[in-house]
């Protein structure tokens, strides 16, 4: 998919702007699966799930673990808002493994706690997957 046309992509968390760069293709995790965005994509407003964000652009391919949030594409500007965006190098595998075992030990009493446990497990597993792929 080599196109010379690019669009702007920025990844923003409440604490800082993690990335602002030109990209040729972005794949982000929506709530029901991955969504790919190329240049001149029609405007979109998506809620994000937990997973890996992949940005292919001038600096090669970049990956981030993102934890929910929103994506907006408008006039070739893709904005990813997320509460957490971690580059693979920022993921501490030991800590995540500990979180995973904690998550697996969470007790399920009702729907809400079931969802919370499921989310915590997915959060940890996605991070581990990303760390292993790169590292």
């Amino acid at each position: 998919m080599a196109t010379d046309r690019q669009f702007h992509c920025s990844v923003i968390t409440p604490e800082r702007e993690v990335l602002s760069a030109e990209a040729t293709s972005v794949v982000f995790p929506a709530q029901d699966g991955e969504v790919g965005v190329l240049v001149d994509r029609a405007p979109l407003l998506f809620a994000l799930g937990i997973g890996v964000l992949r940005i292919d652009g001038e600096k090669g391919s970049q990956r981030f673990f993102i934890d929910g949030g929103f994506a907006q594409m408008l006039d070739n500007n893709l904005t990813i808002l997320t509460s957490q965006a971690l580059a693979p190098s920022e993921i501490k595998a030991d800590k995540v493994r500990q979180l995973l075992s904690e998550a697996e030990a969470m007790s399920i009493t009702d729907d809400a706690s079931w969802i919370a446990r499921d989310k915590a497990i997915r959060r940890a597993k996605e991070q581990l997957k990303l760390a292993e792929q790169v590292g």
Binding site: S10, I12, T13, P14, E15, R16, E17, A30, Q31, D32, V35, A42, P43, L44, L45, F46, A47, G69, F70, Q72, L74, T79, L81, S83, Q84
Partner: protein, 301 residues
Amino acid sequence: MANKRQLVKRRKAVRNIRKITRTMQLIATARFQAMFKRVSASKPYSEKLAEMVNGLAGIDVDIEDSLLEAHSDAPRDATVVITSNRGLCGGYNANVMRTAIEHIDRTAGSGTPCDVQMVGKKGIQYFRFLKRAMTEISHLGDTPKFETVEPLANELIARFRRGEVTTVHVVFMRFHSMGRQRPDVIQLLPLAPEKKDAGAGPSSVGEGASAEAGATVQYDFSPEPGKLLEELLPATVRIRLFTCFLEAAVSEQIARMVAMKAATDAAGDMIKALTTQYNRARQTSITMELLDIIGGAAAVQ
């Protein structure tokens, strides 16, 4: 002689104190700059989020989200009060506390029970001293992080949805500019349109101009707009609470900077006064000795 030595000692002590307060001022300045950077860094997120909410506002959605109206007939208020963990910042905490107590008493006076969630050691100490009821939150540290503020916001949202509280307020020191910080009370829930800042343009949830602007863009939505809004609104609440914490942290550092500057200046004045006193005492003792010698010499002749 004794007097002279005492003055020297005091002057030395004041000098040392001035060194300490000056260092604290410098530290506060550095911390302020770091905090200010964080506030600026959080702006894009909240602005973008508001833009997305506006984008949805143009669409014909039944805004029946659970965060826009109270869920219980029995009014009950939850108030988050943000104070600092450390002192030596002038009137910072006192100002926040005064506004908080005013707000709490007014709410309680109108027949609404008020749960106080106190953030920061200073506020906790003060409320313990007054023997007022509160929930203590002291684990947040000096630099507010989103991941630590988020659970608090989630808890408030959950309590609001369950109808345990009908309103949520935040009392904190709002940062207007370098030279102006005022204690402020904002309503976090039910979610109200954000107050329009000067020049910020319309940022209200679903009114006139913004509705027109939003309607011109045909978005692809996932999930459907109503569901999306259900996700966007809690995110708005979370970022608003986080912004409150950031502004409070910036204001705290400014207050400390100002207080320490005043202390350093005051110490400087004191050193001057002490030096004058010391010189005068020295001159007096020299004169006395001279008089003694002259008197002795006259007696010998």
